[in-house]
């Protein structure tokens, strides 16, 4: 008797989100299968994408082996972003860390001007994150959205505390929103429900918080896995969005990664591989070597 392996077919489809415009654009999401379940009925039209992180100021606490690939450009965020492009990144992830009141408290206008310069200088899509301070982000991100009007960038983190102000600015200036909740599927859904009252669900990416290996990675893993299952299997409208795993910063602040280059690459790589398996659609790296290696792994046939 011929054996036929059982296959599953699901009704949920992750929304496809386009970041950027024209040739400076990429697509994430769109799958109706669980991560890497290519044996089931359905497909993932957009393989996972890899972004490299750029800070808006010279990093203060990066180890030498992390600075090394960007050595001559690290003091200039525009050059740094172009370097990421040369290194083959699918997108640049700009973190406006200097705007944090606890760092430099630099102004929203400065941040917006820099964001615009980078967006215009590179030929790949741009993702922009504020410092994560919800109050300051509520000032900074609307300015950034305005300066980059119509560029269809991915901007975040949009949080429970500031989603009304930031969400409205992103909507007015034609951007996508990256919605961040602290490692909790119930809170994540709640934020999406509230945001979707005025913001299109097709322009939302979920940031579930990506913790590093040894620092809570399994929580993020289970959460991402669950978001995908609930979206694709049970067709929950509020979790059928692509996932961003912003893990580079989390990995490179660990003692292990700072201590030693090889250890750092492994730390970032193992964390990234785990989230690939959990269903991340776009991953943010700090070290280009890890990014390149992970890309190679996903392209193995």
């Amino acid at each position: 008797m011929e054996y036929k392996a059982p296959t599953e077919e699901y009704t949920g489809v992750v929304r496809e989100v386009t970041i950027g415009k024209g040739r400076k654009s990429l697509k994430i999401g769109g799958e109706n299968i669980l991560p890497f379940h290519f044996f089931d009925k359905g497909s993932n039209p957009n393989p996972v994408k890899f972004a490299l992180e750029v800070l808006d100021m010279e990093p203060q606490d990066w180890p030498e082996h992390l600075i090394q690939p960007f050595k001559n450009v690290i003091a200039d965020p525009v050059k740094w972003a172009k370097k990421c492009e040369e290194l083959g990144a699918d997108a640049v992830f700009l973190r406006l860390v200097s705007t944090d009141p606890a760092v430099k408290d630099s102004s929203a206008d400065e941040a917006a001007a820099l964001a615009k310069r980078i967006a215009e200088a590179i030929d790949i899509p741009l993702i922009i994150y504020g410092s994560g301070d919800d109050k300051k982000d509520a000032e900074v991100l609307p300015k950034v959205a305005e300066a980059c009007d119509g560029m269809n960038l991915l901007i975040g983190p949009v949080q429970k505390e500031n989603y009304e102000v930031v969400g409205k600015a992103l909507l007015d200036h034609g951007h996508n929103a990256s919605a961040l909740s602290p490692l909790d599927i119930n809170l994540l859904k709640e934020l999406n429900v509230k945001l979707c009252k005025f913001f299109p669900a097709e322009k939302i990416v979920i940031d579930p918080e990506a913790a590093a290996l040894g620092y809570g990675m399994e929580y993020s893993f289970s959460l991402m896995e669950r978001v995908k299952q609930i979206g694709i299997i049970t067709k929950d409208n509020m979790t059928m969005m692509p996932l961003i795993a912003d893990l580079g910063g989390e990995c490179w602040k660990t003692k292990q990664a700072k201590e030693d280059k090889e250890q750092g690459l492994l730390w970032e790589g193992i964390t990234a591989l785990s989230f690939l398996l959990a269903g991340a659609n776009i991953i943010v790296f700090r070290h280009p070597e890890t990014s390149r290696l992970m890309k190679k792994i996903t392209e193995v046939k």
Binding site: K194, L223, R226, I230, T234, N237, M238
Partner: protein, 295 residues
């Protein structure tokens, strides 16, 4: 459904002050209000009671008995306070509560036998909270067998599966589903047994204004699965109306949702839609969030 009124509870500042200052009026007003609202028992949750234990408990029971004829549920983990309370009750009280923990088996269950009162026994054991339906059944069967040997018959035992908040990060819905199932099969494995739940626990951690719909809907769902009683807020008029037959259409609608019927929301009123949505999160069909009524 037997409603055990939960409002005399030391966590309420007014209650703890009234007990400390022996202000009977505050307590008696709460007892009267719950009696008038349709409660079947009045729960006296006194906390750990470290000082003047016996005297305080006697004072409290007597004060409440002057205000209501309802039987009382003596709610404390302190065995000395428990005995003082049981002794003072005029009507057959409810010992609330015992469990499968060794200490409780040694100190609480014998009191239930001594005063031949009803007793709440939770599924908790020395190993903690059993995580699934099977282990809950297993642990309660052990504890009930132990109680039977002491001479406490099944019909005096009210099993408490212990409800946990639905909003517990990602896990809460698993508990609401497990407990529905547990209550459904309980009487099949332990004939004549009764059951009770701390209903409001389900909605703990949820914004205040959103708690009643969860409590009400879950009560109807559990009642359908043969739940005997609930420790709940009798001052919630809609809750009482649901269990006393005042809202048969809503009850019917919740049952249809439980049966998996595909209900067209467009034909329903706002209130009906809310009950359907709430039943769906409680049975684990849709993912819970605090915005469950809005999506």
């Amino acid at each position: 459904m037997v409603i055990i009124g939960e409002n005399i509870h030391v966590i309420a500042q007014a209650v703890s002050t009234a007990i400390r200052e022996r202000d009977a009026r505050v307590i008696q007003d709460l007892a009267k209000a719950q009696t008038e609202a349709g409660a079947d028992y009045v729960d006296l949750n006194v906390g750990p009671m470290k000082k003047d234990t016996e005297e305080t408990m006697q004072w409290l029971v007597n004060a409440v008995q002057e205000a209501t004829d309802l039987p009382l549920s003596i709610d404390t983990l302190n065995p000395v306070a428990m005995e003082a309370g049981l002794k003072t009750c005029k009507r057959k009280p409810l010992l609330n509560s015992a469990s499968g923990k060794s200490l409780s088996k040694e100190q609480m269950l014998p009191l239930a036998q001594k005063y031949s009162c009803d007793v709440v026994i939770s599924v908790m054991t020395d190993k903690g909270m059993p995580p699934d339906v099977e282990s809950k059944i297993e642990s309660i069967m052990d504890t009930v067998a132990y109680a039977n040997e002491l001479g406490i018959p099944n019909e005096n035992i009210w099993v408490d599966p212990i409800l946990l908040p639905i909003s517990t990060a990602g896990e809460g819905q698993r508990f609401t589903v497990i407990n529905l199932e547990f209550i459904k099969i309980l009487e099949d494995v332990l004939p004549e047994i009764k059951s009770t739940v701390g209903l409001s626990n389900t909605s703990n951690g949820v914004p205040d204004e959103l708690r009643p719909p969860l409590n009400r809907t879950y009560m109807v769902m559990l009642e359908r699965n043969r739940l005997h009683s609930a420790i709940a807020d009798p001052l919630d008029k809609e809750l009482i109306s649901l269990t006393k037959g005042g809202m048969p259409e809503i009850v019917e609608l919740i049952y249809r949702t439980m049966d998996g019927e595909d209900i067209a929301l467009s034909s329903l009123s706002q209130k009906e839609i809310e009950y359907v949505k709430t039943a769906k999160v409680l049975m684990g069909e849709t993912l819970y969030s605090d915005a469950w009524l809005e999506s």
